[in-house]
Each structure stands twice: as structure tokens, then as C-alpha cells.
């Protein structure tokens, strides 16, 4: 463990957004040269805000930022970059049509597009880290892991002293993950750089880092050398939660018979063969980190993944493979990205709600009756407590939470027989979250089988009868919703040490 003075020191960093939201309430962080520092925290703990402050994308509201011992204040990303901090975001911003070399040199100054010494310099960096890639290949032809490496090269060619990596391994395959790990170790070891490594995978943090900081509710709740910590201690520091969105309710009614049966659902490269059943009125949760295959499972079940194989049966009827056939048979998906996949922006609330089941609102099965659509939308606005002037309001005029309720309302007009929800509470406020969770519970109480994906594990715990844990494209564990704690879920999803790994996935 390196005990040199910190390269970067944050003291009591606070961040209050103009609307009064407090994202960080006095966070401390020390990152030393020649060491890998792990940063963990649940959703909303303030990790992303902290990274944005380090990279100069956000200004601090209070507290001190010290770089190489001197107080600094960055107002633009270029300031942090010039000082020697390179930030690698989850979604690597590269230009797909340019070559690897040109992407690596994207931020460099000068007149000429191609210079011999640049090629040599980048080649030298490649030799140093021991990674091979064709510098002239267009980035579009690379895998996600290779792109990650291009972004790392970009950071190194800029001569960074601190490399901040925001979940660099989340969407990588295992060999690619090992390459990233090797290079991170090499950066900190041989080259003496500092690395701030953000990850949800606790085993990865334990194996890779020298020091760990855990954020919770905008504060550092744990800071210690990694070799003094256990996976359980880290999980506990992440989980301890004060705000509970929805209390678990004992669901008295007996579970109905099994109505949904998925057999050997798989997708090459992203999802191992998976079998699952959902009973009438049952809520089954899928717990998994980003890249665990949770969204891939939903898309395969919905028919939105053309490469997917396997069968979906509802009430003894085998459904066709396409999304159109599955929607017609009553499969409903509330997608992860509501603006891109959930609603038609130019449509009103009423038009969006009636979209999947327009026929049932139409005279002669052809002419939509505005009065019927209106009545259904007014009822939905009432029942889901959507805050909107009326059914003729454009869906783009609503806040995120209310737009999400419209996307859910689309599927609650009586036609659905199997409800799939992908992160239904992402990016919406706490009041709307509670509404959405209640809504899901009510839909299940009405007899709908529900499959719920969420990275908010406490929501799964509050809602689900059964929880399947996914990692690396496979279901690795299955638990009863009332027989597991959030800590255990974090451990199961974020660590390889699973007692029943493989038992359920087969």
C-alpha cells in the first residue's frame, strides 16, 4: 500500500443543483499516485456527480479540491484535462468512421491530420501497456472492449496522471475484462499513474484495487485499504439505506397457477439458455448489474431480439417469434429508454395510450373513436395519477415520471397477459417512483404475471415474490423475495462467489 501524499484530494465536497437537489453532502476522497482506487455506491449515491466534478463537467458548490497539493477549481472539462485528469465514460465517445490512431489523437492540437511521430508515439504507448490493435482499423469495426482500449489509449496519449474509469468493465466479456484489469494494474504499477476505478462488481474491486471508497447518500461511508476489507463489509456499506420508496407488503392472496413459461430462451453472445416461469399475479424480479444480460432477457422474451432463440408459452399457447405476434398475444414491454423506445413524441397522451390496442377503441375496427380514447385516457390519468392538463396534452410536455406512467398505461388497457418492465423507475422522482411501484403491484394483484428488471434492489425486495439474480448473461441464483436482504442481493449480483451458481441457469 502506497502511503505517499495524495495526488488528488477532495475534502467535504458538496454539490447542490440549482433546483435544490443535493447530490453530494460532504464527500471525501484521496487518490494516490501508483495506486488503483475503487469507488462504489448504489444508484443515486453520487458517484456520477463526483466523477463529473473531477472531470470539470460540473462545478462544486462547496468543499475543497486539491490537485498535487494545491487548491484548484475547474469550470470546464478542458481545465481538468490540461491538469492531467483523463475521464473514461461508460459510453465511450469515439468517432466510428475514423481510424484508431485518429481517435486516439482526437484531442491533440496541430495542423496536420497524419504525422509520422504521432504514429510512433502511440505505437510506443501500445508497446508499454502490451496491447495490440491495428492503428488504421476504423473504430466502427472494433468490439466494445477494443473501443474501451482505444479510449484508454486516448487518455494515455494525453499524458494523464489520473485516469478515472466509470464502470469500464460493465459491458465487456470476460477476456476483455481481464485485459482491462491487466492494463489498469500496469498503469498503476509500472507507470506510477493513479487510477480511480468505478465498478458495481465487488469481487473485481477486491481483486484489482489498493484502496476503496464507498459513497452513500452523497457521503463517503467507507474508506479503507482493500486488503483490510471483505466483500460483505463493502456490500453492507453500499446497502445501508435510509430512504425507502415502498414498504414491503405481505401479499396474502395465494399465488395462482403458472401461466407464463419461457423455455430455453437464449441469444448468442449475450444470454445463456434460460428457463423461467411466472404464475398468475406473481411479480418476478431480475436483479443484475449493467451488462448482466437482464435487458437482453426481456428483449428476447418480447421478440425484439431477432437473434434470440427459444420458446415462450402463455396459458398453454406457444407464441410466434416476432414482436408483433407477441404484442398481439398480450406480451407487453415497458422499455428501458422511454424517449427512444417508449412513446411517439408528436402524439398526445391519449394517442400514445391507445397505440398498441387501437383496434379496441375503434368503430368497425378501423376508425379510432376519439371519445373512447379520451375516456380511457382520462381514466388512466386518474388511476395512475398522471399530472397533466388532459388527454390532449403532448407526451413531450410531461415530466419524466409522468411520461413513464403514460408508457405503462399503454399496456394496462385490459389487453395484456404478461407484463415486462425494464428499469421502470429510472430517472424519475421519488414520488413518481412510489406511484409506479404501487401500479406494478396493483397490476399483479389484478392477476397479471409481471417480470421486473431493476437495478434498484430495494425496489425488487419491496415488490417481488421471487428474485432471479443475473450475471454475465445467465441466471446465477434464485431467491424468495421475503427471504433475502439487499446486502445479499448485492453480493450475489456483484460477486462470483455464489453458492448455487449454475444450479438454476442450466
Amino acid at each position: 500500500m502506497n502511503r505517499a501524499p495524495p495526488l488528488l484530494e477532495l475534502r467535504g465536497i458538496r454539490k447542490v443543483f440549482p433546483n435544490g437537489t443535493v447530490a453530494l453532502r460532504g464527500a471525501d476522497l484521496n487518490v494516490r499516485s501508483g495506486s488503483v482506487h475503487g469507488l462504489l455506491g448504489a444508484n443515486g449515491a453520487g458517484k456520477s456527480t463526483l466523477i463529473k466534478i473531477l472531470s470539470g463537467a460540473l462545478e462544486v458548490s462547496g468543499g475543497g479540491l486539491f490537485w498535487k497539493g494545491a487548491p484548484v477549481r475547474w469550470t470546464r472539462p478542458i481545465h481538468a484535462k490540461a491538469a492531467g485528469i483523463a475521464t473514461l465514460y461508460q459510453h465511450v465517445p469515439l468517432v466510428p468512421t475514423l481510424s484508431v490512431l485518429e481517435n486516439v489523437l482526437l484531442g491533440s492540437k496541430g495542423t496536420w491530420r497524419q504525422r509520422a511521430e504521432d504514429r510512433e508515439r502511440v505505437g510506443a504507448i501500445l508497446d508499454e501497456v502490451g496491447y495490440a490493435v491495428d492503428l488504421d482499423a476504423p473504430v466502427a469495426s472494433l468490439s466494445i472492449g477494443q473501443r474501451q482500449m482505444v479510449a484508454i489509449l486516448q487518455a494515455l496519449s494525453g499524458g494523464a496522471d489520473l485516469v478515472v474509469m466509470d464502470e469500464p468493465t460493465a459491458s465487456l466479456s470476460n477476456p476483455e475484462r481481464r485485459t482491462v484489469h491487466r492494463i489498469v494494474r500496469q498503469l498503476a504499477g509500472e507507470q506510477g499513474k493513479a487510477v480511480l476505478f468505478v465498478s458495481h462488481f465487488i469481487d473485481e474491486i477486491i481483486a484489482l484495487t489498493d484502496e476503496v471508497t464507498v459513497l452513500r447518500d452523497g457521503r463517503a461511508t467507507l474508506n479503507a485499504p482493500t486488503d483490510t476489507l471483505s466483500e460483505e463489509a463493502i456490500a453492507e456499506a453500499i446497502a445501508g439505506r435510509e430512504v425507502v420508496t415502498l414498504e414491503r407488503e405481505h401479499r396474502a392472496q395465494a399465488r395462482g397457477e403458472v401461466v407464463v413459461e419461457a423455455r430455453r430462451i437464449a441469444s448468442p453472445g449475450t444470454l445463456a439458455e434460460t428457463n423461467l416461469t411466472v404464475a398468475r399475479g406473481e411479480i418476478v424480479g431480475i436483479a443484475g448489474m449493467l451488462g448482466s444480460g437482464r435487458s437482453e432477457l426481456l428483449h428476447a422474451l418480447f421478440g425484439a431480439d431477432p437473434a434470440a432463440t427459444g420458446e415462450l408459452w402463455i396459458e398453454g399457447e406457444r407464441l410466434g417469434p416476432t414482436a408483433e405476434e407477441r404484442v398481439a398475444a398480450g406480451v407487453a414491454l415497458v422499455p428501458e429508454d422511454r424517449a427512444e423506445q417508449g412513446y411517439v413524441p408528436a402524439f398526445t397522451i391519449a394517442e400514445n395510450i391507445s397505440l398498441p390496442t387501437l383496434r379496441q377503441f375503434s368503430g368497425a375496427g378501423l376508425l379510432p373513436r376519439r371519445s373512447a380514447e379520451h375516456a380511457a385516457s382520462v381514466a388512466a390519468i386518474e388511476r395512475l395519477s398522471i399530472k397533466a392538463p388532459g388527454p390532449d396534452t403532448l407526451v413531450t410536455e410531461l415530466s419524466g415520471g409522468n411520461a413513464q406512467k403514460v408508457v405503462i398505461a399503454k399496456w394496462l388497457t385490459g389487453h395484456s397477459r404478461f407484463l415486462l418492465l425494464d428499469e421502470p423507475t429510472a430517472g424519475i422522482d421519488i414520488g413518481a417512483r412510489t406511484d409506479v411501484l404501487r401500479l406494478i403491484r396493483r397490476a399483479a394483484d389484478d392477476g397479471l404475471p409481471v417480470l421486473l428488471v431493476s437495478s434498484e434492489f430495494h425496489e425488487l425486495l419491496a415488490l417481488c415474490d421471487r428474485i432471479l439474480v443475473m450475471r454475465d448473461g445467465a441466471v446465477v441464483a434464485e431467491r424468495r423475495g421475503d427471504a433475502i436482504t439487499e446486502q445479499e442481493l448485492i453480493l450475489l449480483a456483484g460477486s462470483s462467489a455464489n453458492p448455487d451458481a449454475g444450479a438454476v441457469a442450466a
Binding site: F17, N19, T21, A23, N43, G44, A45, G46, K47, S48, T49, K52, D217, G218, V243, M289, F302, A304, A323, E324, V327, A328, L333, P335, E340, Q341, G342, Y343, V344, P345, A346, F347, T348, E351, L355, P356, R359, S362, G365, L366, L367, P368, R370, S371, D392, L394, T396, E397, L398, S399, G400, G401, A403, K410, E423, A426, D429, I430, A432, S455
Partner: protein, 397 residues
Amino acid sequence: MSVPSTWRTTLGLREAGVYYALLLLLAVLAVLASARGFPPYLSVQNLGNIAYQASLVGIMGVAMTVMLITGNFDLSVASVAALAAAVMIGLADSIGLAPAALAALATAAAVGLVNGAIVQFVGINAFIVTLGTLTAVRGLVLLLTDGRSLIVSDPEVLRAMLVFESSRVPIFWPALALAALLVASGIAGRARGSGGVGRIAGGLLLAVLALVAGPGADLAAPVIYLVVFTAAVWFVLRYTIVGRHIYAVGGNAEAARLSGINVTGYKLAAFILSSVAAGFAGVLFGCRLGAINPTALQGTELTVIAAAILGGTSLFGGAGSVIKTVVGALLLFTLTNGFNVLDLGANYQGLIEGSVVIVAAAIYTVGGRRAARRAKRPAASPVIEEPAGSATVAKEA
């Protein structure tokens, strides 16, 4: 779409700008005509002429609008029209007009199917595919005609063509009836709270026009075809499930697909509609002349697209109105007609027409951006209602 219409939004510059532009242009031309001592510009006969000249582009423009709403693009319409005309003229002497016209429409539909299948199943951009068929189909026309003009020689067929294309249809009573229908439906719509302002305004305008024209007014058959086709497509878009799905497919294809709508089917159908409409325009064109020149209608596809843009159709899909496209076509042909009739110097014509298209697009874009800013403000900053600590939760999975 069915954003609640008020007098202010419906009659505002962005919504009704193309109508004002047409009225303004007619007024300017009328003043110029009287200042220069020409016969009155706003005669029933001259207005009927403009509509006649605009009818082919109008028919293609209506189908093009549907195409643009679904988020695709068709550059090949003029070549397809020429191909249909060549097929019809080439066959009419031997098999008669009606079978020849049907063969022409079938040929056009086949080209549309090819266009759509390549775009939807191979996944090439519609702009590129139809740029290719624009040239290839024109080449096919040259092959069919061997580079010469084809003419119809059978007098029977020529007479049938004349009836189909050049007969005059009395319109006084039908126009008054249609006007009454529009106003009544508009009033009923307002009573139910779903639009209607445009229908009332249009109905009143139509009634005034009919009364001014007098009981003897008549119009050329192609204008009637245009009116009927436009009305049918308008009805489908405005009132049926098919129409709603077409807007949804163009507005957000992914959301439409995840709602169980057959996105590929709708986009393919739009290609076929566009080509069949072009084929029909080609048949009318062939009947008008009784002959076809292999270079006929060259460049017309750009006029068709310009008409749709003048009508406010979005090139990104999801928005557009067929009636406004027709008005856009009328606007373009009023310009041409004005330059010819008033002898305003034909050299300026292209410059003015092009500028008009750009100004119109600028008005729509700037106006649209303002409207979008107004509409998006609450939604664009979801941070407003984030709870403590989760301001960045959306992407932090």
C-alpha cells in the same frame, strides 16, 4: 395531429402559412396584372388552369407526403410516371386504353415494391435506392421507347383518352355541397372538442369560390381526380387506425414496433402508394398528349418534393398534411403561371421558386423549434424533481 386546435394555433403562421402565402401571391399577381393592363388575373378560367397544371404534381405530392410521414423518401416518382406513360402509350393501340392503363399502374406498383423491398429488407437508405431507380427506370423508358417518341394512332383510343383526361366536370353544386359538409363537420368537431377550425375555414372559402365562379363553373377531370385522391388520403390519415399507425411509424419507429405495429409493412406500403400515384400521374400525362417522349417529366420529382416541403412536411417523418402539400403545389404552379401570363421575365423564375422553398422551410424550422422549446421545457430537465442524491441516476446503472 390532434393537438387541441384553437383559432389562434390553426390560423397561425406556422400552421396556415402556406395558405397565406398562396393568397398573398395571388393578390400580388392580380395587382400586377391590372397595373400592366392585362386581363384580370383572378378569372375563374385562369385559376382553373393553375389547378389543372398543378394536378399531376399534386397527385404525386400527396403520396410523397405519406412517404415522408413514414420517414422515407422517394426520388424516383418522375421516372416511374414516365415509365407508366410509356407502357400505357405503347400498349393502348393493341389492347385498348383501360387494360393499358392498368398494366401501367401494375408496372409502377412493381417498381414501388422493388424500391421498398430494397430499402426495408436490404437496409439501404431510401435516398440512395430511389436515386438509383430514378436513373435506372429512366433508362428503362429509353429502352422501351428506343429513344423515340411513342404515339397513339388508334382514333378510338385517342377519343377515350380525351374523355378521361380533358373532359370538364361541372362543380358548382358539388362544391357548395362539399362546403356545407365541411362546415357542418367542422362545427360538429368543435362541439366534441376535437379540431374543426381548418374544416370550417376551408368550407367557407370553398363556398365563396363557388359562388364567385357561378353556376356554370367547371373543372378539368385531373383536378377532380386530385381532389378525390387528396380527400381519400386525408380521411385515412385523419380518421383511421392506418393513419394513426403511419404517423406513429414515422414519429418513433422503435416505439411503434414495441407497440406491436408492423413498421416494415407500413413503410413498404408507402413505397407502393407513391409509385402507383406516380403511375397514375403518368397515365394522365400520356392521355393529355396522346404521346410520350422518353425525357418527359424529367426533374419533376424535385417539384413534387418541393410541394411537400412548402406544405410543411417534415423530412424526418412523423408530421405532414396532404392538403397543405396540394396547396404547396398550387403555390409553385401559381408562380410559374404568373411568370408566363404576366410576362415577368422567365429568367427570374428559378431563382424566385427556389428562394420560396427555402423561406418556407426556414419558417417551419424556426417556428417548430420555438414550439418545441415551449413544449419541451418541463420534460427536458427531469432533474427538477430528482430526490436528494439521485440527480444523475438515469445513466448510472
